[in-house]
Amino acid sequence: RTLRAGKLTERVLKLFIATGKDEVFSLIQALNIQVTVTPVLPTRALRPDLTSFMNEWRTIFSRFHLIIVKDPDLKEELKIPEGFNLDVYKKPDIDRVVGTSTSTIFSGYSCRYFGYLVSRKKYIISVDDDCYPAKDNKGILVDAVAQHITNLTTPATPFFFNTLYDPFTEGADFVRGYPFSLRSGVQCALSCGLWLNLADYDAPTQALKPEERNSRYVDAVLTVPARTLMPISGINIAFNREVIGPALLPSLRLGGEGKFRWETMEDIWSGMCVKVVCDHLGLGVKTGMPYVWRNDRGDAIASLRKEWEGVKLMEEVVPFFQSVRLSREATTTEDCVAEVANVVKEQLGTKDPMFARAAKAMLDWVKLWKSVGSSTSSPGA
């Protein structure tokens, strides 16, 4: 009953285990409850047949709880193989939780945010359904989940660049000249992975080099320095939901947004918000490993017309976010997001109604997060 009520938290579980009673242990084993932090994988289902995707990831995913969110615009039934511990959310479920008027924000790639909203786990790992596990330079299958968890559970070092990259990884350390006071680092809130084969290029770039595939496996994780912005792709990311959950949000929707990654900018926009919020709250963002293998999909040239809009937008978006400064009073993630939304409304809303809509969507999201997403909102730092 405790499990069904969703009240079995890590703390409660530890108390049960501490009793040292055999019946408790056998029950835990029978129910396959994981003591370690259990990530949730909201997988945005754009195609109905998830069989090959799930089977490819089986050895890595099967230990964890999965959240599959079906794009409300997808008409066909989902095909999901057996043997996973999962929850599937479809349009009726989304409507029930957030209301039919709000559920429109979760269409297309943005359906993943619904998964983030309803999860109650500490960590979330999110992978597009056209990605398979990659192999590293030694030919060994990359456990992307394990690497993301490692990234999130070791400190980040945003205030000074370490030339040997992640100092907390085996075989590396801080180099000469790295101030000792900065060596304990800060909490890592976001882990951005990369992609082999089909890299996350925009349509013009991929169209110009139709044969180019990313074959370079860079064996590094590094912290993105404070106040440095970057395009955060939603294809392969992980984050600490407790700390930064509200800042990953569906808000910017292109007029011609489509069903291929290079026809969207929603993740890039969301990522700029997240980085600004992390910088303000003193949280870290890492980039690099893990890699996933991204399958060929779509036609860049066909997408060129649609995505041109997104490409032009970035000329405004980047300088804007580089200039955003949050107030001292913004000490929680929700407050930070609300502040960013207001600045978007004031400074960008007048230039293009798309930004005005995005700002409103951000404020709506904060409200939604407070009512549906959280039991308590936790301060970031």
Partner: protein, 363 residues
């Protein structure tokens, strides 16, 4: 991978890029045997050897290299009283080589650095990679998640604004080290056996506004763009500190590059660093630096250069002024250092009399 490359002589004939535009500056106190291994890659280039320590000792340079050599007597003769800014009994003296060079590019390397192997076993031509880094733009204003977009097989990712894709000129290329990593003394003492065996196949631009610890073991730079900022400070004999020469140059260089809109890259190429210096000796040299860097780094992070500093020299003089104002209270050493920074610029301009050329634009 924890071995240097052998049989580099068997390497395919190298196209020597920038043969007449680049000098290789090597500080040494012992011998230059290591050059034998680098011969296929270095022989086409002119060397500037800066001999530290006892000037009466003769340093043997392997046959077939075109070089000029300067010992302490030469430094004193050429600079006169200004020679006081050049360190003695410390590899920091290498910056004298930068000053006397007449070339556009400098590559500097330590005499215990050998040719490394990449994961496929191929010998790495570090100089060639540095040149590639210097000749392609940097991207300091927005981070590219696929690292250097100008490398073959990579590009700018989705979301990277097109207006920023031209990049800015690259002023410096900071290479890394396999085998003995560049750790400070405390870390060396705690992990005496740790070796860097991780080959990270990336070059990346260090973002604007971010400082980094610049190591002088495997470094190249565009002398015309940033040369005067590469002063390696007052170290060694008669000084309270050592092993912070390259760090100091790196912080000054990065602040000035950020101000002038120039780029700094780090990552490839790797060299094979063979010799671990004595950690106890290092500790004695560094220990003041370990305390001082806690003050120095916030100083550089907060340093603002006025808009009218449009040349490297002007930026550097302004930095020297700020060092005197703000760091003298940490230790009188910084007062001396600030004066030496000014002396360095005076000496640089004397030896390079074309006059200050506006480099880039003030940010």
């Amino acid at each position: 991978m924890a071995e240097p490359a052998t049989a580099t002589q068997a390497a395919a004939p190298v196209v020597a890029l920038l043969k007449d535009e680049l000098d290789i500056v090597i500080p040494t106190i012992r011998n230059l045997d290591f050059l034998e291994m680098w011969r296929p890659f270095f022989q086409p280039y002119h060397l500037i050897i800066v001999q530290d320590g006892d000037p009466s000792k003769t340093i043997k340079v392997p046959e077939g290299f075109d070089y000029e050599l300067y010992n302490r007597n030469d430094i004193n003769r050429i600079l006169g009283p200004k020679a006081s800014c050049i360190s003695f009994k410390d590899s920091a003296c290498r910056c004298f080589g930068y000053m006397v060079s007449k070339k556009k590019y400098i590559f500097t390397i330590d005499d215990d650095c050998f040719v490394a192997k990449d994961p496929s076993g191929k010998a790495i031509n570090a100089l060639e990679q540095h040149i590639k880094n210097l000749l392609s733009p940097s991207t300091p204003f927005f981070f590219n998640t696929l690292y250097d977009p100008f490398r073959e097989g990579a590009d700018f990712v989705r979301g990277y604004p097109f207006s920023l894709r031209e990049g800015v000129p690259t002023a410096a290329s900071h290479g890394l080290w396999l085998n003995i990593p560049d750790y400070d003394a405390p870390t060396q003492l705690v992990k005496p056996l740790e070796r860097n065996t991780r080959y990270v196949d990336a070059v990346l631009t260090i973002p604007k506004g971010t400082l980094f610890p610049m190591c002088g073991m495997n470094l190249a730079f565009n002398r015309e763009l940033i040369g005067p900022a590469m002063y390696f400070g007052l170290m060694g004999d008669g000084q309270p500190i050592g092993r912070y020469d390259d760090m100091w140059a790196g912080w000054c260089t990065k602040v000035i590059c950020d101000h002038l809109g120039l780029g700094v890259k780090t990552g490839l190429p790797y060299i094979f660093h063979s010799k671990a210096s004595n950690p106890f000796v290092n500790l004695r040299k560094e220990y003041k630096g370990i305390y001082w860097q806690e003050e120095i780094i916030p100083f550089f992070q907060q340093a603002v250069l006025p808009k009218d500093c449009t040349t490297v020299q002007k930026c550097y003089i302004e930095l020297a002024k700020q060092v005197k104002e703000k760091l003298s209270k940490v230790d009188p050493y910084f007062d001396k250092l600030a004066d030496a920074m000014v002396t360095w610029i005076e000496a640089w301009d004397e030896l390079n009399p074309t006059g200050p050329v506006p480099n880039g634009k003030a940010a």
